[in-house]
Structure formats: structure tokens, C-alpha cells
Symmetry: C2
Subunit: 345 residues, 2 copies
């Protein structure tokens, strides 16, 4: 119940979002898909009270949502707007990869200050659209509001063949434990970003891993479709926290070897400045690599990499419910969860 | 990558949410539904990377999401925590009602200060659980994080028989326009809450409509299943803004009569203090009533009320694209959108 004005209205913000994603709809139509939205899956997209989805026979629908908040997950004056757009979707899509599903569409909830509803919003939408194309995930709807800070929440909808989803709870004693990619890169990238005085080289690989993470969709689907993985999740908070969650869900324990961890490569100068690759690999967050377990009988079927992403064996599931790490000198100790936890100070 | 402490962890907050909703799962199981979640629809609920849903044959899945933010949509020190819990779900479920669907499950994204993660959270979850039971909508997952303010985003998933959804875009010239319930009650309730010095009587009906809105699920489904409504949406921002949206989606105009509006009843004292029922009915937000159109040939099938909720004819759809209101004295004027718009000052 406000006075009208010449300021931007919610309709104008929505129109800007619709315009930014117009190309994505056309691309989907050009590959021969049906319905006004250009998708077999999505039969009613933006502009109504809700979106409509038609699941395929023999498939289940997968749903996940993720916060991405200024001051908690990113800084408006440190992170480029297009990286914020890319990453808010990539984080949520990573949960879809982690269950072995394929993303289909997403809802965008966006709150932002009025003064960011122009070129900042366009840059944000540019990054979001690039991510949406890369992950083959259509914008289906959402909610926008004005706010003194930037708040994002993304809900992603995916599909998985019935019975093929890979849950956290399927790990059994004796199963081997694997991770994709390198661990700790994104945490080191965050430190580079935090410490920057002047312009940073955005092509720096560790910085890119922090700003533009790539969910491991191809690997996740390979493991699900070949029925190779017994349990899986993505590494968002750090190995020490996430491996414990997988073990708790499966009612098992684990032993990992620190020498086997695919840790980040650091320069001599960085090492001198206190950068410890092992600590980064154990506790660093935001890598969005996959953590999964495979029974010994199926382990021979695992290639060294899928879609260019390396796979590394890091340990074994145990009956005892502890999570242990064996150090280089052969001593084992309990691995305490020291990854990202927003409720710890 | 934080130090561990004895503070509340994210796991503890999640455990509190799971505990609060344990009863809901049991209730669903007790009525003979399958799967670990107790639901035919929801085959994997909280605790994994994502939730799994099985749509029924011949039905489509409906998706919507809604912000509910401290300082924008509610005030932590004015609104009871259990009303915040109720309303965050009710608002999103209202979008499901507005398309003629039935809610099935929801994802809760919650950010809150550590000091609210105790009894405030329990009260919030109490209200949310009452709403979830009332709307028959299971908690399927979500995301929690620590924050200096309370932020809520709710995604609701519903089902509608294929082809029976009622969109905003179906209104045709000559169709009659209807609303459910009374308009402006919630806005008046908000004013009562804002102006309170001491304790308010929470049973006051207009205050209850602001704090504990009831989405018009029964009416929405009746209109969809009987194929009576040609277009429908819910009134969240106010009639003057929302009717214009329906007309734009349908490429039509409308004429409504102010004397026909089911406006809020006010006391003589309130009227003396400047409370204007017509202005409240035209521009007041948050009512979550349904606005819908019906062709003249089907209008005879409309009862006076559905499920105890009155239905009132307020005007007619026109070919001319303006939205007009005819005042008591017979003069017509363009109805400007003056409902809630977060991007206007």
C-alpha cells in the first residue's frame, strides 16, 4: 500500500530477469523440445503463481535448495557479480550431482538493493545464465524483493532413474573411499581473494575454483548409472565435516591416509607463509568435489578419471564408528570435524 | 575451517528441526502411506543431499518459492515466532492454491542468529508444524545457516491433475470477476500490530488474518476440478496490483465496482481515525484470498461459498486493456496499482 513512483518496480526487475534468460529458452526450443517453455520437463515457467513440471515415466524428481548470502557466503565488494550468479546455481546443482541425478530447472529467489537492480543485476544474471546453460538447467520461476543486502536462495529440480539415486547412507564396512579432483583449492582461492590489495588475475586456477566451481555432474551420473557407488555426497563444508556426515548416515566409520589426499599444489612462498596443503585438504570448504564409496568388488570398474576429472582413493570404510586419519608417520588420530559450520564462531 | 567449540552446531539445529517434525511423519504413516518418509509422494526426505519425489501418473508437479524476511515481511519483536513459522508456509502454499493444485511437501531454508536457535526456534517450528499439518504438506528438506537476522525461504511442491491447472492468462472479455473472503483485513491487522503499545488480543480476527492467513486450498481445488475458473491468482500484494497482473497475463482489461467489494468491517472509532475500508480493499496486501474469473455460462454453477469461504462477484473482464473502478457515485476511473511493491519507496 505504497505511493507509486518512477523508481524501479518489481515488474521491471522481473522483466530484466526474463529478458536475460530469453536466449536460454530459444536454445532449448532449437533442439526440438516441446511446450511454451521449450522444455519437455517444464510445461509452465515464469510469470504465473507457480511452475509446472512433468516427470518422465520411470524417473523420480530430485529437489534441493541452497542459501547464498552476502556477508555469509560472499562479499559484494570482493566477489564479481557474475561469479555470484554462477556460484549460487553451481552450489545447488552440486547437490543434484551428489545424488547421481541430472539437473532440469531451477527457481531463483533474489533480494537486492534498488541501486543494484541495473548493471550489477545484469552481470549477476550473465553469470547465472552461463551456469544455467552449462548445467542444462532452465529458469522456471522464483521470487524477487527489495532489500538492503543481496540474498539468494536457489531451488534446483533434477531427475534420476527410479532406484538409481546414490544416497549418503549406503556405505558398508570394507568399501573403498574416493574423492574427485583436488581438495583445498577453493579455500586457498578464497584466501587469495580476501588478501587482494589490487587487481587479481581471475584466470588463477585456485581463484577460479572458488569463484566458478564446476559441479561434478558427469561423474555423479556415471557412478549412478553404472551402479558403481554405494554412497555419495558432495564436499561443500570440507572433508573432515562431510566424511563424518556420510559415515553417520551409513552407521559406519572410516580410515583415510593423509598421504593419499589429492591436495592443492602450493608455491614455496605460500608454504613459507603458512599455507598447509594437508590442512586445506582436510578442512577446506567450497570444493564441490564428490566424496563416494565403492565396494571392493566394483572398484576394478573405476577408471582413473571421468570427463577429465581425476578420481583418487583416499581410504576405507570401517565397522568401528570413528573417522580416523593416518598421518605420514603411520600414526592414526581421530579426524575432528573442522570444516565450515555457520553455527560455530 | 573454523575452530570447534561447545556452541550450537548446524547438526544440532537440524536435529531440532527433525525432532519437531517427527510427529508429522508418524501421522502420515498411520494413514497407510508408504516409504521411509511416510508418504506416497516423497520417497526420500531430510538428511541427504536432496529430496526425492514420485509424481503420480496423470498429474503434474507444481513448484513455487517465497521469501519471508525479517525487516521486510515481519518484525522479530512484533511478530510471535509461531506466527512467523505458520505464515512463511501459508504464503507459499497460497500460490499452490492459486493454480488449483494440492500441496504435498516443502523445503525450508532458514537463516537465524545463534541466540534464537533455542526456544525461539522451537516456537517457530511449532507454528510451521501446525501449518504443515493443516495444509497436509510434509517437510522434505532444506538448508540452515547462521545469520545476524532471521531469513526464511520456502519452496512448496504440489500436484495437479494434468491440464486442470488454472493459470493467470485464461481470462476472456465478458468473464465475471470474483474474490474469496474479505479484502483489507490483513492490512488492518498489520496496523493493529504496528500500533500496539501493550499486549494485543491475538484472537482479534483481523489480527489473526495478518498473523495466521489461511490459503484457500479447498476453493482453489474446487474451481480447478470442476473446470469453473478461466483464470486465477492469489491476492498477496493487493487487488489493485494483482488484478492488473491477471489482466496483463490474459491481455484483457477489467471493470470492478467499489460497492461490490467485500471490504473489511471497521468500528466507528476506526473510521474516525482515518481507516478507509475501500482503500484497504483496493490496495491492502497479505490477504491470500483468491481472485478468479468465470465465463458467464459457468457462473450459474458457482455456489455462494466453498468450504465456508464466501465468494463475491466484483466486476467483469473487458476487451479494453484498462483496469477501471466504478465508484459509488457511478464515476469510473483508472485503478492505479498501489499495492505492496518492495521496489517502490
Amino acid at each position: 500500500m505504497r505511493e507509486t513512483s518512477r523508481e524501479r518496480s518489481e515488474e521491471e526487475v522481473l522483466a530484466r530477469i526474463v529478458r536475460a534468460f530469453a536466449g536460454t529458452r530459444l536454445r532449448a526450443q532449437s533442439v526440438g523440445l516441446r511446450s511454451a517453455t521449450g522444455s519437455r520437463f517444464l510445461s509452465l515457467g515464469m510469470g504465473d503463481d507457480a511452475a509446472l513440471i512433468s516427470g518422465a515415466h520411470g524417473y523420480e524428481i530430485v529437489l534441493t535448495c541452497d542459501w547464498f548470502l552476502e556477508g555469509t557466503h560472499f562479499w559484494r565488494y570482493k566477489h564479481p557479480a557474475d561469479a555470484i550468479g554462477w556460484k549460487c546455481l553451481a552450489r545447488a546443482v552440486s547437490d543434484i550431482a551428489a545424488i547421481g541425478a541430472a539437473p532440469r530447472c531451477f527457481l531463483l529467489s533474489l533480494a537486492l538493493p534498488r541501486e543494484l537492480a541495473g548493471s550489477w543485476l545484469d552481470d549477476f544474471l550473465g553469470g547465472l545464465k552461463r551456469a544455467a546453460k552449462r548445467f542444462d538447467c532452465l529458469l522456471a520461476g522464483g521470487d524477487t524483493t527489495e532489500r538492503w543486502e543481496v540474498l539468494v536462495n536457489v531451488t534446483v529440480v533434477g531427475e534420476v532413474r527410479r532406484g538409481r539415486e546414490v544416497r549418503r547412507s549406503g556405505a558398508r564396512p570394507g568399501d573403498l573411499i574416493y574423492v574427485s579432483g583436488r581438495l583445498g583449492e577453493a579455500e586457498l582461492g578464497l584466501r587469495l581473494l580476501r588478501g587482494r590489495k589490487r587487481g587479481l588475475d581471475m584466470r588463477e586456477p585456485r581463484l577460479r575454483k572458488h569463484l566458478y566451481p564446476e559441479p561434478r555432474l558427469e561423474l555423479g551420473r556415471w557412478l549412478s548409472e553404472k551402479r558403481v557407488a554405494s554412497a555419495m555426497m558432495d564436499l561443500s563444508d570440507g572433508l573432515s565435516s562431510d566424511l563424518r556426515r556420510l559415515c553417520e548416515a551409513s552407521r559406519v566409520g572410516a580410515v583415510i591416509k593423509s598421504e593419499n589426499l589429492p591436495s592443492v599444489r602450493v608455491t614455496k612462498l605460500e608454504r613459507k607463509n603458512g599455507v598447509d596443503p594437508l590442512q586445506l585438504a582436510l578442512h577446506g570448504g567450497d570444493d564441490y568435489e564428490l566424496l563416494f564409496t565403492v565396494s571392493k568388488s566394483k572398484a576394478t570398474r573405476l577408471p582413473r578419471s571421468v570427463g577429465g576429472v581425476a578420481i583418487t582413493r583416499i581410504g576405507e570404510i570401517t565397522r568401528a564408528r570413528d573417522v580416523l586419519v593416518v598421518d605420514d608417520d603411520g600414526h592414526s588420530r581421530v579426524l575432528k570435524p573442522r570444516g565450515w559450520d555457520p553455527f560455530r564462531g
